[in-house]
Subunit: 315 residues, 2 copies
Amino acid sequence: MKVVALAGGIGGGKFLRGLVRAVPPNDVVAVVNTGDDLWMHGLRICPDLDSVTYWLGDAFDRERGWGRRDETFRATDELRRFDREAAWFGLGDLDLATHLYRTRLLADGRSLSEITGLVAARFGIVARILPMSDDDVTTRVDVVSFGQEMDLHFQEYWVQRGGRDDVKGVRFQGLDAARPAPGVLEALAEADAIVFAPSNPVVSIGPILGVPGIREAIEARRDIAVGVSGIIGGAPLAGMADRLMPAAGLEVTAAGAASAYQGLLRGWLVDERDRELAPRIERDLGIRVAVADTIMVDDDDAEAVARAALRLLGT
Amino acid sequence: MKVVALAGGIGGGKFLRGLVRAVPPNDVVAVVNTGDDLWMHGLRICPDLDSVTYWLGDAFDRERGWGRRDETFRATDELRRFDREAAWFGLGDLDLATHLYRTRLLADGRSLSEITGLVAARFGIVARILPMSDDDVTTRVDVVSFGQEMDLHFQEYWVQRGGRDDVKGVRFQGLDAARPAPGVLEALAEADAIVFAPSNPVVSIGPILGVPGIREAIEARRDIAVGVSGIIGGAPLAGMADRLMPAAGLEVTAAGAASAYQGLLRGWLVDERDRELAPRIERDLGIRVAVADTIMVDDDDAEAVARAALRLLGT
């Protein structure tokens, strides 16, 4: 059963750990958000691609919640002695190797999708990881802080400033001109199932759907498309969806998250805590809703969630 | 007594440790070779500037002979797992902070000389360190390996390939169009002494003298210019001058090194092992030659060498 998963970083990575246990890993293609990517100190950093890679490669630090396990921060700690302000993005020493490798290959003219495949190979990953696009897309967050309007890179909004600003809107620079990365449309066309991972609908899945051609490809196959809500009990388990969904006109509930994918889904998996929302979602969106324990503490949990999502496609 | 020292990496750094004890450090300006600089994995690396900075900042690893003390190599070791070939330039984790900091500031439009000053400040260095130029100069080494001609970056020749190839010539890309960094000509004009550190005359001091304007400025002040031979007993203490000097038509002796600076020197300091060369150098170049123990094992040795060099300017 060939499965394409649309994924952001943390929720996506966690879910994918389970998906590659629910179906053979070489049948899995992860299409990953690149809107959060940034240039930092001359290096190209792709937070969501790296999170997914580290998760699937069993190299992710689950306790810290980002970056690699057994990581050290000698370079960043030292950089802080040069300039405290400049070192706001925590680059681990092992993690730096990924960025050094990627930046060199980009300078050599290799595409992000090729490089992503090489990085995945180093971690022994059998599933295929694809960036949503090889073209640069940049998520910008318009905020107001103490009456002052600011136009921030997503990472400035979230990591540098801790997500403390009032969000007025989210924009995706370069999205209209971006093309799906090689393999993305083919994978969607050949899939037996398309799964929206429990990632942020605005800044993780949103940019993927915004790449011209991807939304249309999924619409055409909505009979095999299901999603897992990353909003549980009216709040995201992690991240800042509660701040960004209202700015995008979405209710911060499992119903609001589903409505972000209106017209693209056959089924939607919500957490047991949101059981009472199921009838409303079914009625409003005309889709099938299932209920399960969707909190993924370990890979067994993630596998159960993946299986529950795929079961929505059964007759 | 204001002193300008022309310096490469190791010999230069060692010597400068002594110079800032022989005269007040705020009277010292080091003008440093940048021909070895390179882009690597997206980062700008300035090996000689960094060596001099780490020496003067007491952060150099004297045992290893390059890089920082208490260094680790987690990022480079990990990069080697991505691509063994790509990780030939050993970037330490602490050292990486310097390159990350510099690359970011270059991208922000700051000049190399400004950045060098900021890096020196982080290490509490009182002496002034200046790149020879803010413009890019690249030392290329033409070699023959098993009958095949190759045009290598200096670091490819020396670090990646271990200096094993036959050297046919050395070229400095961009040198003719390079301008002295701000402060270099002023420092030379105001100096009470100009000292050629015991660095490689071809690839360390050579590029500095090749920046249009610098040679002329030193020529005009040759009455206050002295040098220390980095060639002792017919060989360099470290490095590859024995390979490069013949390609530049220079004898690999303290006399050959002095001849590289013909017309620019008042005095030349040679090691005791080269005592018998002194009369010939004095006769051929018409300069004063002094003899001393020039091997610098510690800062006391370096101070003695600096004092002996400056004494050549006495009456």
